[in-house]
Symmetry: C2
Subunit: 358 residues, 2 copies
Amino acid sequence: MKQAIQSLLFVGMIGVTASAEAQQWEPLPAQPPIPADNPQTEQKVELGKVLFFDPRLSEHGTLSCNSCHNVMGSGDDNRPNSIGMHDARGGRSAPTVWNAAFQSAQFWDGRADSLEAQAKGPITNPIEMGMGSAEVVMERLKSIPGYLPLFKAAFPGSPDPINMDNLAKAIASYERTLITPDTPYDRYVKGDKSAFTEQQARGMQTFAELGCTACHSGPNFSGPSLQAGQGFFMKFPTFAGSKYDDQYDLLLDTGRHAVTKQESDRHLWRVPTLRNIALTAPYLHNGKVETLEEAVVVMAKTQLNKDVTPAQVKDVVAFLTSLGGSFPAQTMPRLPLTVGVSIVPAVDPHLKTTPLSH
Amino acid sequence: MKQAIQSLLFVGMIGVTASAEAQQWEPLPAQPPIPADNPQTEQKVELGKVLFFDPRLSEHGTLSCNSCHNVMGSGDDNRPNSIGMHDARGGRSAPTVWNAAFQSAQFWDGRADSLEAQAKGPITNPIEMGMGSAEVVMERLKSIPGYLPLFKAAFPGSPDPINMDNLAKAIASYERTLITPDTPYDRYVKGDKSAFTEQQARGMQTFAELGCTACHSGPNFSGPSLQAGQGFFMKFPTFAGSKYDDQYDLLLDTGRHAVTKQESDRHLWRVPTLRNIALTAPYLHNGKVETLEEAVVVMAKTQLNKDVTPAQVKDVVAFLTSLGGSFPAQTMPRLPLTVGVSIVPAVDPHLKTTPLSH
């Protein structure tokens, strides 16, 4: 317990402690928090899904939100870092979009405090979807006639509905449907004891006893609050001296500090959800930990200063596996298409041609 | 008519002529031809859909079949040429997968005579999905435990069901569901005269009178036969001397000749379907024609030696637009996931890193 409290003090949180005995285990709510200025509607969700899957939101028309946050899979891309336009990549690992609606901060450094604020980032980011500016995105969308009726239906009364704010609201609305509340864990804590194996029940106990719940708390295992803007961060690594400490490019990327420039935010990172964690390897903000077993060992040592036994690791992994699955069935969106002409840019400065294909 | 017959003689076809008056207009059958050794089953279609959408069938785990043949859109990528692994691209334009099941030859040069034979190509092609060899593909698939039950269900009785032939059979089975038989054109020729505008009816007449139907014949507008292996090819360009003749890299890419090495096959290309053609810009095998209007002008001049009027072009385009749409609703597949570890390769020789993202 001491270490867990110590970790919390690092980020100025007080009073939330994890007791293995008295641990409150909460199931995921059936719905995530909905902001007052963006109520869910069927039309917004449908538009958001179309936008999420439309590769024309990227410079070359090749990458959609789904390319790196694959909702047919684990909601990420199972890579250490994603591959963007021009074969570019960043230093951080794409977080899963599944249950992102329950995260109180978005991006690893929490620089967006809502899904709406987050959605605008990757589209214009030069090393992700590469559109450069909101103006370019809007020009692209407006060149596809079929988008206007979709935006009008989603935002009735808006005189010029195709704008970046509405795009973000629609994508966020769709993302709020990407939740997995009915896992073995949720069934177990609601009273269905048959939902767990013995090992999973043991792993849950170990998870609390080690102190993991100090940070990975709440129904989303991402901190005490599910409310957007309540951002819950943790220093990594908290305990120095383990063999893992210097593996994580700490000098290159200072996490939340890079956003706030506050010295106290150096190497603070958003506490990510553990839901579906077994499906989102590789691990940590930089994707440098290859397996979930190793992630448990690294976290226990660098955050809690504990050496876990192989048996403990196996039990905790079994428990974490219970936090995954139950993905809702989805229909594919139909992308609005242009007639007789493509609005995807044909030429780019990186053109390489090899003779044969197709 | 004279030019149409002449075109046909170029490729050694005889006897199939298009008369504007007596033109037989056929609706698309409700089902494409099914090969005797690969009957459709629900399990094969479902497995094929999963494979079609799985980016782990590419070297970096970033490109799926759907990346360049987007079934949520026009079945292609609306680019002159697709972008493959390592930012590579070929010289030919990705054909639509919609109604490919009705094409009698696959690839622009017809080097595959069935969907099954085609499906294996792009996965291993170094400038497309980049897997290199069937062995690498099978190793990848076998490292995802969830694939074995899917292959077993699709190929019961097969002792080692995860193999390249079964992969191809499953993808082909899924592709045989990607058909659009209920377009305005189909309703019109079945007797619903209200399915066409006056301009579309006039355009249909012009299409036949110009002689377009000499090549774009049959219910798929891709030649007289819908049977795989019956390959229907056309020389391009047939008539020399137009301003379009030297625009198409004829020396670089000799089409079917590159496959057969037969001099008579030089610059022969598969006749592509015109179904959904209004949605698959840019046009021709090299994607160098930007608009459907220009494609009509180019084809009329280089294949039929006719100068079409702007009014004729508009009418024909209106008719061609009637050949699109009516895409069936589809559910998203769920990709089988690995637990606790990613099988997507983390490192590649083209690694570039830029500090910030996510």
